[in-house]
C-alpha cells in the first residue's frame, strides 16, 4: 500500500499578475520502506514538491494522499499534527536552535507531541542512533557541520515518523562529511524508515533505491537504481 499518492499535482506561485508554475501535473506513488531521491537542477520544482509532500505547503490543484488522507481537506492543526507524528525533516541549513543544547534541540518535536513518554530517554536514543551520545550537553555552536546535521537527523527521528524528508542534507557539508550523512540515511532506510531525499547531486542520489528526475516542473524519468 502506498504511503504517498500524488495525482496530477500542480503548484503555481502568484505574484501580482505574474504566474510562475513550479510543478506541472506530476503523478507518482511512494510505498513504505522506499528510499527515493528527487533530483533535478535548481528551479526544477523539487523543493516545491518536497514542501507539498511534507505538508508545509498546499498544491494549487490535483490530489495528494498521505497515509490515505487527502491533504486538501486537512486544516492547519491537523497538518501540524501529521508533521509532528508522522514526518521528520532534515534541512540543508540544519535549522537547529541557537544557544540551546544538542539534547534540547532533539527534544523539540516531543514538546509538541501528544504522546506520553520520557522525552530525555527518547532523545538520547535518537542521538545514539546517529552516534552523538558524547555530545548531549554541547551547545549547537560548539559542534561541527557534520555533527549539526546528525543532530538534525536525530531530531527528525525522535518521534518515530513514518517518513523522513531530507532537503539537500549534504549541501552545506564537504564531500567526506556528506558521505557520512548519506550513510546514516541509508542505514535508517535499511532498518525500515521511508526516506525522501531532495538533491541536485547525482553522486548523492545514487545512494537511493529510486530516482525521480524533475525538470521544469515535470517528471522526466522515474526509475530504480541498479
Amino acid at each position: 500500500m502506498s504511503l504517498i499518492e500524488v495525482k496530477n499535482l500542480d503548484k503555481t506561485y502568484y505574484s501580482g499578475e505574474i504566474e510562475t508554475p513550479a510543478v506541472k501535473g506530476v503523478s507518482f506513488n511512494i510505498n513504505k520502506g522506499e528510499f527515493v531521491a528527487i533530483m533535478g537542477p535548481s528551479g526544477s520544482g523539487k523543493s516545491t514538491l518536497m514542501h507539498i509532500l511534507g505538508l508545509l505547503d498546499k498544491a494549487t490543484s490535483g490530489e495528494y494522499f498521505f497515509d490515505d488522507q487527502n491533504a486538501k481537506y486537512l486544516n492547519d492543526n491537523e497538518l501540524a499534527f501529521l508533521r509532528n507524528e508522522k514526518m521528520g525533516f532534515v534541512f540543508q541549513a540544519f535549522n537547529l536552535l541557537p544557544r540551546t543544547t544538542v539534547l534540547d534541540n532533539v527534544k523539540l518535536p516531543l514538546t509538541y507531541s501528544k504522546k506520553e513518554f520520557d522525552h530525555n530517554e527518547k532523545a538520547k536514543k535518537a542521538l545514539a542512533d546517529v552516534e552523538l551520545s558524547n555530545r548531549l550537553d554541547y551547545y549547537t555552536n560548539e559542534i561541527s557541520g557534520g555533527e549539526k546535521q546528525r543532530v538534525a537527523i536525530a531530531r527528525a527521528l525522535v518521534n518515530d515518523p513514518s517518513i523522513i524528508f531530507a532537503d539537500e542534507p549534504t549541501g552545506n557539508l564537504d564531500s567526506k562529511t556528506g558521505k557520512q550523512i548519506i550513510n546514516i540515511l541509508q542505514k535508517l532506510n535499511e532498518t525500515g524508515n521511508t526516506i525522501i531525499l531532495v538533491t541536485h547531486d547525482k553522486e548523492i542520489a545514487k545512494h537511493a533505491n529510486r530516482i525521480i528526475h524533475l525538470k521544469d516542473g515535470l517528471i522526466i524519468s522515474d526509475e530504480p537504481v541498479e
Binding site: 508545509l56 499534527f81 509532528n84 521528520g88 534541512f91 536552535l97 540551546t100 514538546t111 509538541y112
Partner: protein, 416 residues
C-alpha cells in the same frame, strides 16, 4: 488546557534563558516602572502616616472654634483675608466653665500676629502667639527653663514672654534668658521662660514663636477679638455632645436664637474631620504620583512590544522550524505571549523587590535623621504590581505573538 499552558511557559522560559541579556534589558522598563510605583506608594504611605500620627499626637479629642460662619465643606471665612471679630476672651472663658460645657478639660484662645523681638544688639522676626494659660493642657508642650505665665498675669496685661527654642537661640545664643528684658514693638517684656524644642508638626513650627498672655498681645496690636479657640474634651466619645454644648453656649452669648446653625457667627470643627480631610488630600496626592509612575509602565510595555516584534522577525526561521516539526498556530502564539508575560511578570517581581529595598533604605535614612518614620509596604500595592505587570505582558505581547503565529512555515524556513 492547564497542561498546554504549563508547556508553553516551559518553552518560553527555555527560550528566554537562551537570550539572557536581551531578556534582562527588555525587563528593565518594567523593573523601573514597577519599582517606582512601589517606592511612591511606600514613601507616600509612610509620609501620610507621619503627618497623621503627628496630628493625632496633638490629640483627637480637640475641637476648634473659629470666628465667622462657614458651610461645612467650604473654606472658612477666616481664611479669606477678612478678620472676623466675633469671638472674644470672655467667650473662651465661658466655654471653660463646666456649667456650660461639662466635658471640657480646658481651652486655649489664640491671637496670632508677627513682630520683631529685640535683645541688646540682636533682633529676630518671629510669630507672636497671644494665648491663654490653657495652652499647656490643650496643646501639650513643656517649659524647659523658667516658668509659664499665670492666670493673674494673663488677666492683668502683664508684660511677660515665654520664648520658643528657636527664638531663644536666635536672640540669646547661649546666654541666660530668664529675667532678661526684650523689646517687641517698642514695648518692654520680661522673659520668664523657654519652651522645650518640639519641631514642626502638621506644617506648624512650634519653636519659632514668642508666647504672650493673650490680653497683652491683643493690646499690643490694638484688637480685642480672638483668631481661634481650641478646646480639649475629656473623652473622644463625648466630642459630639461637647460640640453641641459649645454651640449652645456661644449662641446664647451672641444672642442667636436660630438653632439650625445657619445664623451662627462661629464655626466648630473637630480633629477627626481634619484628619479625614488630610487623609483625603494625601491619598489623592499619593495615587496621582503612583499613576504618573504607572505611565512609565505603558512606555515600558511599548518597549517590550517593540523588542518582541524584532525578536519575531529575528526568529522567523525558528518559527518556521517549529511549525515544520509540528507546532500549530496556537503553540507559537502561546510561546511568544508567554515569553512576554514571563518577561513582564519577572520584571514586575524584580521591580517589587527593588522597590521594597529602596523604600527601606529611604525610611532608614529618614529615621536616621530622627523622624518617627514607619516603613510601610501595603500588600495591595504588591498585588496590584503583579496584576499590572501580567496584564501589560498580555496586552503588549499579543500583537507580536499573533504576527509570529501567522507566519507560513515555508516562507519562514526560507527567510535569511
Amino acid at each position: 488546557m492547564v497542561k498546554a499552558i504549563i508547556k508553553s511557559i516551559k518553552i518560553s522560559i527555555t527560550s528566554l534563558l537562551a537570550n539572557k541579556a536581551r531578556s534582562f534589558l527588555t525587563m528593565l522598563g518594567i523593573i523601573i516602572g514597577i519599582g517606582a510605583v512601589i517606592i511612591i506608594m511606600a514613601v507616600g504611605a509612610s509620609a501620610q502616616n507621619l503627618v497623621l500620627t503627628q496630628i493625632k499626637s496633638l490629640g483627637t479629642n480637640l475641637i476648634g472654634i473659629l470666628p465667622g460662619h462657614s458651610e461645612k465643606e467650604s473654606p472658612l471665612n477666616a481664611f479669606t483675608g477678612f478678620s472676623v471679630t466675633t469671638l472674644t476672651y470672655d467667650d473662651a472663658m465661658a466655654l471653660r466653665d463646666k456649667k456650660n460645657v461639662p466635658n471640657i478639660v480646658d481651652v486655649v484662645a489664640y491671637n496670632k500676629s508677627a513682630g520683631t523681638a529685640v535683645w541688646s544688639l540682636n533682633s529676630y522676626d518671629t510669630n507672636l502667639s497671644g494665648i491663654t494659660v490653657g495652652y499647656l493642657k490643650v496643646e501639650g508642650g513643656e517649659v524647659k527653663i523658667g516658668r509659664f505665665f499665670t492666670r493673674e498675669e494673663e488677666k492683668n496685661f502683664s508684660r511677660v514672654a515665654v520664648l520658643g527654642s528657636t527664638v531663644k537661640k536666635e536672640l540669646f545664643g547661649e546666654s541666660d534668658v530668664v529675667g532678661q528684658r526684650i523689646k517687641i514693638k517698642n514695648q518692654s517684656f520680661e522673659v520668664i521662660g523657654v519652651m522645650k524644642e518640639r519641631g514642626i508638626v502638621a506644617m506648624q513650627d512650634y519653636d519659632d514663636q514668642i508666647f504672650l498672655p493673650i490680653k497683652t498681645a491683643q493690646k499690643l496690636i490694638g484688637v480685642n477679638h480672638l483668631g481661634l479657640i481650641r478646646a480639649k474634651i475629656d473623652q473622644k466619645n463625648n466630642i459630639n455632645r461637647a460640640i453641641n454644648d459649645v454651640e449652645a453656649t456661644l449662641r446664647e452669648r451672641h444672642g442667636i436664637t436660630d438653632t439650625s446653625g445657619k445664623s451662627d457667627d462661629f464655626t466648630v470643627r473637630n480633629a477627626v474631620q481634619a484628619l479625614d480631610m488630610i487623609t483625603d488630600v494625601t491619598n489623592a496626592l499619593k495615587y496621582f504620583l503612583a499613576a504618573m509612575a504607572a505611565l512609565s509602565l505603558i512606555v515600558g510595555g511599548i518597549g517590550i512590544m517593540n523588542i518582541m516584534l524584532i525578536s519575531v522577525t529575528e526568529r522567523t526561521r525558528e518559527v518556521g522550524l517549529r511549525k515544520a516539526i509540528g507546532a500549530n498556530n496556537s503553540n507559537i502564539l502561546n510561546q511568544f505571549l508567554m515569553e512576554t508575560v514571563v518577561i513582564t511578570l519577572l520584571g514586575g517581581i524584580i521591580g517589587i523587590l527593588l522597590g521594597i529595598a529602596v523604600s527601606f533604605l529611604i525610611s532608614s535614612g529618614i529615621q536616621f535623621f530622627g523622624y518617627d518614620w514607619v516603613f510601610i509596604i501595603s500588600p495591595l500595592s504588591i498585588f496590584l504590581a503583579i496584576a499590572v505587570s501580567t496584564i501589560i505582558g498580555l496586552v503588549f505581547g499579543l500583537y507580536p505573538a499573533i504576527k509570529a503565529s501567522k507566519l507560513s512555515p515555508i516562507e519562514a524556513l526560507r527567510y535569511e
